[in-house]
């Protein structure tokens, strides 16, 4: 309070002044009325409130102290943390409960084909990608690339701003400036200006195709609309065009053909329709289902390929053969089926095992009648596809097991790109719009795209990243992520699939269709308007569009919009004679096969989840490698972990060698897409002094060698280069290899279909052990008994489960150095084993998670009881009790426990690292350093369902809970559920004759069981194979019976 005279004194003098008569008519206060000299003085004072007497005396030192402190505090208060505000909904949207996940159907387009998705969304953040269970192209499964989308969305290295190049450098710009540029530049061009071209990614999006049509209308003198992706299916479409006279899409009915021949075709792995193909393939690989039909029949798959693929690895018979010999092999098969003679027949066809293989295939194809299919992969030239169609047609398979439909994706992409580059060089392209893509990095090397791009005066790149191409363009627009934008596309079967945003664009990006609409000067520029405008034109669109659209959005697709089979007639065509080097191992005619790896064509190079996902065959992470066969390596003097120099024409690349059993003789397979220089903090950013990961092999790839090149020379440089493989390299000491070989039969139990029919529980007798007695009091589980079943007949090793688990359970990426030390953190790993002949091994995959042993060895040794059982038999891991002795890891016979050797959340603290937090699953603890972790059987998903069931006062359904790995699995190889519930799929599977438990003889009572791998080999080929010791246990088993 002010130090003015106290009230009592005031009121006392009031009366006096009132008596004396007021000095003025109005008075402001009683003091005024009184008008004492004190009051007069007060009025005269500059600061009436301040009584100088009342201010305590301050000496100079104290004054300076206080002043100094005040100044310091004032300064401090200005440098504070940026306030982060979380705004609550002031009105909660209907149906929304904070913390409860919602699911939205959407899709993403890879290679012009929609991948139907279901996004798990927590409080407005997309957390987990799942497949859309209602969509025929997914049936609930999703690929590893789709699973990794959330990380791509939250990648801090994504392009965040519009950039404009003025002079030499690209500077930050903004949307207004870009809009101004578009209006000015394209506005002028719309009035008859020439020379504007578009290079987009191949697409089947109705909206994009509609905008392309509009583009041609708006820019009548345009320089063309091109699409290009390095891993395109040009030859496939072209092959159909040769065979049937028009570009068509080929659909294989893998569940219907009894005998199938897959030629360099990774139908279950890299094919755009791999999810549905995998499901169809698996439907005929379940032995129990196969005998249910009257005539017991399982499909028989023959695969011929140069490099082991996911698909080849699960074929009944696999022949490693150089890609350039498949043409000859197919002609030979056709000839044998026709009973004619091949004009110029290469000598290698008579070599073993090729000759025997061809004979077996021909015999089987002949016997199976029309229920056959021959599938060819995109690496093969068009003519091989055409020949396959011709054989399929002759067999009567076209229209039955091989169905042709229209092809929405543009054909001849590579040729188109070449034409574009010619036009760019000729100066006819004045303005180039690049919708996504990275042709500077991935275009065929002989085109010289980068040089041509420099000749284009105005180039606009729309992309998620400021990649190699974006940096060469005059404009770069940061693209909104597929999870942030509206769109549509068609799945492989043609179903129109909708893409809806899960969140507003993080960095205010624009989607490709929105940019294109701006360029076209469209009346609509918002994504949703563009999509709705297209969908309205669909014949399926109902009368009430809004209701229909809402329905489609809910489902994620337009029901009944799939393609209808096309009526086709076979054209006559001449197949050129096959050419392949006589000696496959002659240096100078070595074959180099370009394959796709875990990072696709390079677009996922900055996605840590995918970079650290082991290659399905080599198990190499963080690198691509030149896969060579054992014999090839010996002949050419190559060794593991050394650099190999490959020369094709004038181009030279050094790639680390990996000796991969099952690679074809004389063939080297290398994944493309690695060695990015402008990818980001993971994939390499030369400007930011982050070294590229892997080696770029695009310089070796030309227009004519998009699939494989046959004229490579190789030279062992002897330079060391360490590859981070999560599983042992093939090169191991002798006793280790022998032991591994001996154990495979016990770990991965196999049987042939014929043998299994007679002895359905054969595999249970692979291990003999004395009666098992426990040291401990054994717990009886009366309630739920959670367990898992993994069917090895169906597992293809596709890695979807690995990335799905990574996303669900907040599994950290540890980096190459740590993987080299064996410290990868994956809770589920897919073991890959080779058996038999190293040149043509039997391949097997075995996913391993924590087995949740009832008598868990990890629990017995933990000194602090940080890992212990719950009442339902889950082996729980209590992170905040764990002190990190790692004893549990030692005592785990499956070695599925993972230890946080370092803090694995340091990347949160990096610039932009906050974004990574966005995709952390809020239901799963983020682990600190020094604690052990492992698969929990997705305990958070169990809880979620349990809570729901409790609220609804009902029992948990038999197959209601799905773990993340199960959810992702395209073949339903993984099933989780309650072993105590007889209706649960997992319990039914456990009761099957071919179920067995790995290391059951340790009396640990694992809750996970495997179903033996039942194959359907051709007896003519199989006998030859068992010669190299398939049956260490087979003999013991016979004694057992």
């Amino acid at each position: 309070m002010s130090p003015m005279s106290p009230n009592a004194q005031e009121s006392a003098s009031l009366k006096a002044s009132a008596r004396a008569g007021a000095s003025s008519a109005e008075w402001r206060s009683l003091s005024d009325l009184e008008n004492t000299p004190e009051f007069q003085e007060l009025l005269a004072r500059e600061f009436p409130d301040q009584d100088p007497q009342s201010v305590p005396e301050v000496d100079r030192r104290r004054f300076l102290q206080l002043m100094g402190a005040s100044a310091a505090l004032a300064t401090l208060s200005s440098c504070r943390w940026e306030a982060e505000q979380i705004l609550p909904f002031n009105q909660r949207p209907q149906g929304m409960t904070p913390g409860v996940a919602k699911h939205f159907a959407t899709c993403v387009e890879f290679g012009g084909v929609a991948q139907p998705l279901l996004l798990r969304n927590y409080d407005g953040r997309p957390i987990k990608v799942e497949g859309n269970p209602e969509h025929p192209a997914s049936l609930g499964a999703s690929t590893m690339h789709a699973q990794a989308l959330t990380l791509e969305w939250a990648d801090p290295d994504r392009s965040k701003v519009i950039a404009n190049k003025k002079g030499g450098t690209q500077d930050e710009s903004n949307l207004e400036a870009f809009q101004e540029f578009v209006d000015e530049h394209f506005g002028a061009l719309r009035d008859g200006g020439a020379g504007v071209a578009v290079l987009g990614a191949p697409t089947s999006s109705p909206t994009m195709l509609d905008l392309a049509r509009r583009f041609r209308d708006v820019f009548p003198d345009n320089a063309g609309w091109f699409t290009y992706e390095p891993l395109n299916r040009d030859t496939e479409i072209e092959g159909a065009a040769i065979a049937f006279g028009k570009p068509l899409r080929t659909h294989y009915k893998l569940g219907e053909a009894d005998v199938q021949l897959w030629l360099d075709a990774d139908l279950l792995g890299s094919h755009p329709n791999s999810l549905r193909y995998s499901r169809d393939w698996a439907s005929r690989r379940v032995a129990e289902v196969a005998i249910q039909d009257g005539e017991p029949m399982m499909t028989r798959v023959y695969a011929v390929e140069s490099t082991p693929s996911v698909s080849g690895s699960v074929a009944d018979h696999r022949l490693p053969l150089r890609s350039d010999r498949i043409h000859g092999l197919l002609l030979e098969i056709e000839r044998a089926l026709d009973g004619t003679v091949l004009a110029s027949r290469p000598a290698w066809l008579d070599e073993e095992p090729t000759k025997k293989f061809i004979a077996a295939v021909v015999e089987d194809l002949r016997r199976a009648g029309p229920k056959v299919l021959i599938a060819v992969g995109p690496r093969q030239p068009a003519v091989v596809h055409a020949i396959a169609h011709r054989i399929n047609q002759k067999k009567g398979a076209i229209g039955k097991t091989v169905v042709m439909t229209e092809e929405p994706v543009a054909a001849k992409q590579t040729e188109g790109l070449a034409a574009l580059v010619r036009a760019m060089n000729a100066g006819t392209v004045k303005t180039l719009v690049l919708l996504g893509g990275n042709p500077v990095f991935d275009a065929p090397a002989d085109l010289g795209f980068e040089a041509a791009l420099a000749k284009v005066p105005v180039s606009v790149h729309v992309g998620l990243y400021r990649n190699e191409t974006a940096r060469q363009c005059t404009w770069h627009v940061n693209e909104a992520h597929p999870l942030e934008s509206w769109g549509d596309s068609r799945s492989w079967d043609g179903t129109v699939t909708l893409q809806q945003p899960q969140i507003l664009p993080l960095h205010k990006g624009l989607s490709q269709i929105e940019v294109l609409a701006k360029i076209n000067g469209d009346e609509k520029t918002a994504g949703i308007d563009l999509v709705q405008r297209t969908l309205k034109k669909l014949p399926n669109a109902g009368g009430n569009f809004d209701a229909w659209f809402a329905r489609c959005l809910h489902d994620g697709f337009v029901t009944g919009s799939a393609f209808t089979p096309a009526n086709v007639t076979l054209q006559t065509f001449d197949a050129p004679a096959p050419t392949s080097a006589a000696d496959p191992l002659a240096n100078g005619s070595i074959e180099v096969v370009f394959k796709d790896g875990t990072i696709g064509d390079g677009r996922f190079a900055n996605n840590g989840w995918l970079v650290e996902t082991p290659d399905p065959m080599s198990k190499v992470t963080w690198d691509n490698a030149a896969y060579v066969s054992v014999e090839t390596a010996e002949k050419l003097g190559l060794a593991d972990n050394t650099l190999l120099e490959i020369t094709i024409g004038g181009a030279k690349v050094e790639v680390p060698t990996f000796i991969l059993p099952g690679q074809a003789k004389g063939s080297i397979a290398i994944a493309v897409g690695w060695g990015r220089t402008c990818a980001g903090r993971i994939g390499g950013d030369v400007a930011g002094e982050i070294a590229p990961i892997g080696r770029n092999v695009y310089p070796l790839r030309t227009q004519s060698t998009m699939g494989s090149a046959s004229n490579a020379s190789v030279r062992a440089t002897g330079k060391k280069y360490e590859l981070a493989s999560t599983q042992d390299h093939f090169v191991m000491d002798r006793i280790g290899m022998e032991e591994r070989e001996a154990r495979i039969d016990v770990l991965i139990r196999k049987d042939t279909f014929d043998n299994w029919k007679d002895h359905p529980d054969h595999v249970k007798h692979a291990v003999h052990h004395p009666p098992l007695e426990s040291l401990w009091h054994e717990v009886a589980y009366d309630g739920h008994k959670w367990g898992m079943s993994i069917d090895l007949s169906r597992c293809t090793g596709c890695n979807a489960c690995v990335v799905g688990c990574t996303s669900e359970n907040n599994i950290p990426v540890v980096g190459k150095e740590q993987v080299l030390r064996g410290r990868e953190m994956h809770w589920i790993r897919v073991d890959r084993y080779f058996g038999g002949d190293p040149e043509n091994p039997e391949l097997a995959h075995q996913p391993l998670t924590c087995h949740h042993c009832e008598n868990a060895p990890c629990e017995q040794v933990c000194p602090v009881a940080a890992t212990s059982h719950n009442s339902e038999g889950l082996n729980d891991m209590v992170y905040n009790r764990c002190i990190g002795t790692r004893y549990c890891g030692n005592n785990c016979p499956y070695k599925v426990r993972r230890f946080n050797y370092f803090s694995n959340v340091e990347h949160f603290k990096e610039p932009g690292g906050d974004l990574y937090k966005l995709i952390m699953n809020p239901e799963v603890t983020v682990r600190t350093r020094g604690v052990m972790e492992k698969c929990t059987f997705c305990v958070q998903r169990i809880s979620e369902v349990r809570k729901e069931a409790k609220r609804e006062n009902r029992a948990i359904g038999a197959s209601e809970i799905k773990t993340a790995c199960q959810q992702a699995c395209p073949t339903e190889a993984i099933v989780f559920g309650d072993l105590a519930n007889g209706d649960a799929e997992v319990a039914k599977r456990e009761a099957l004759g071919r179920s067995y438990k790995v290391l059951d003889e340790l009396n640990i009572k694992p809750r996970t069981h495997y179903l033996a791998k039942i194959t359907n080999p051709n007896s003519a080929l199989h006998i030859a194979k068992t010669a190299h010791g398939d049956d260490g246990h087979g003999n013991a088993q016979k004694k057992g019976h």
Partner: protein, 466 residues
């Protein structure tokens, strides 16, 4: 009965048995000699001690730095990986615990067996034990992922009512090692009290008198005190004896109780104890040889002592060798395919170099001690004893790492490669050991004065004269 009395026996064999000490010693020279060392003035202290101490302290500093780095970064600074969750730290732990066996064995078991030659070496063998256990105790503590909660290993009552998990051998370890450390320390200290009192009585400075007096706990050498002292010493010896056997048995349970092939064997407890005594004696010899040289104790720690220890080394070497062969035999005979492979892998696999280093150092080289000349050759015994310690370190490495790196499922097999931090931490632990040891040699009676005197041939004339 009288023939069993050791004193009578010694009388009887006096002329056949050479005296325990060399040269002409009497009570005074012994006291002067042993107590003289702690009474050295600054200038009397040999330069070599300062140099050695500087080096040891520097290594200790390095240990501190390594531990600080470890705590800052996490366990990942070591080479441990996913199959080999345990690596060098556990190897070092078992190595140091093993070394810590000789002291108590010499003090307790040899005392109970009336092996009088022990008196010259027991004091510093016990000291070595305690320092080795101190080194060992570091490792389990820093080895855990979250050392700041390592105290949860102890059964401390808490608000969560959360006890340790008593089925875990790691917990048994905590009890075994802490008990052993406590009893060893008490035993060592108790034996030292009369000697501390001697130094107190001879003290020329008040500080020395106060400090030694403090630790001498009012010892006045009365008959009653001697009586009590000897009772207590005997009791502690009896208490310590089973501990010698138990501590390494329990340490071996860390391995034997796990179900890992190569760990899960019943031979481990005796095998570990034999190995521990083996390495402990080798360490005593490696320390005694330079110590008797530098501190002028050659007359007290005689060639006869060294030879006796070398004989123990030879005997335990053969026990260890026998255990190695038994393991291999059982691996084959037992018919467990996983165990068979674990041993085949040790002998012939990726780590065969480690196995054969172990085998040659522990079984082959010590056989040279069959030759008396080698047993009595200072340089050769030094070389062999150092090799034994190298070999015993490798034994623990072979057991821990080779078994872990290749267990049941071949896909998860790996190969352990240590880091520089691993190596520097191990070297640093020697820094701790030598720092403590050098301080002990310099400031405490290195040889048990009272006990040595008790076993000296009596100077009959002097006794009579008095």
């Amino acid at each position: 009965m009288t023939t069993l009395d050791p004193s009578h026996a010694s009388e009887a064999f006096k002329e056949f048995r050479p005296p325990l000490l060399d040269g002409k010693n009497d009570y005074k020279t012994i006291t002067d000699q042993i107590c003289g060392v702690p009474e050295w003035s600054h200038s009397e202290t040999p330069k070599a001690w300062y140099i050695a101490f500087t080096i040891a302290v520097s290594m200790l500093g390095m240990l501190g730095a390594m531990i600080a780095w470890l705590f800052w970064m996490g366990v990942g600074v070591w080479g441990n990986n996913n199959p080999a969750f345990w690596g060098w730290p556990i190897v070092n732990f078992v190595f140091w615990v093993g070394i810590g066996h000789a002291g108590t064995l010499i003090s307790a078991i040899l005392f109970l067996f009336r092996q009088k030659w022990r008196t010259s070496i027991n004091r510093f063998a016990e000291a070595m034990t305690i320092f080795a256990v101190a080194c060992a105790a570091i490792f389990p503590g820093i080895h855990v992922g979250r050392p700041w909660v390592a105290y949860w290993l102890f059964p401390i009552p808490n608000q969560m009512d959360m006890w340790p998990q008593f089925r875990s051998p790691l917990l048994w370890d905590v009890f075994a090692v802490s008990t052993y450390a406590t009893v060893s320390l008490l035993f060592w200290y108790l034996g030292m009290i009369p000697d501390l009192a001697t130094i107190r009585d001879r003290a020329t400075t008040p500080v020395r008198r106060f400090l030694y007096g403090l630790f001498a706990m009012g010892w006045n050498g009365s008959n009653r005190q001697w009586h009590r002292f000897e009772r207590a010493y005997l009791l502690l010896a009896a208490l310590a004896t089973p501990l010698v056997l138990s501590v390494h048995s329990v340490v071996s349970f860390d391995f034997a109780v796990a179900q890992l092939p190569g760990w899960h064997t019943t031979i481990f407890p005796p095998y570990f104890v034999a190995g521990a005594i083996f390495s402990g004696f080798a360490m005593v010899v490696s320390l005694a040889v330079p110590a008797r040289q530098f501190f002028g104790m050659k007359n007290l720690i005689t060639m006869r002592h060294l030879e006796a220890m070398n004989k123990v080394i030879l005997a335990t070497s053969m026990m260890v060798g026998y255990a190695y062969l038994t393991e291999l035999f059982i691996a084959w005979y037992g018919g467990n395919p996983y165990e068979r492979f674990a041993f085949l892998n040790r002998v012939m696999g990726n780590y065969s170099w480690a196995y054969w280093s172990m085998f040659s150092c522990n079984v082959i080289f010590p056989q040279l001690f069959w030759f008396k000349k080698i047993r009595r050759s200072i340089p050769l015994m030094m070389i062999i004893c150092v090799l034994v310690n190298v070999g015993m370190w490798f034994e623990r490495f072979v057991i821990t790492v080779t078994s872990l790196s290749r267990d049941f499922v071949p896909s998860s097999w790996g190969y352990f490669t240590p880091t520089l931090i691993d190596a520097l931490t191990f070297i640093g632990s020697f820094g701790l050991f030598f720092t403590l040891f050098l301080l002990f040699c310099r400031w405490l009676p290195m040889v048990a004065v009272a006990e040595v005197k008790a076993d000296m041939p009596r100077d009959e004339a002097a006794v009579k004269g008095a």
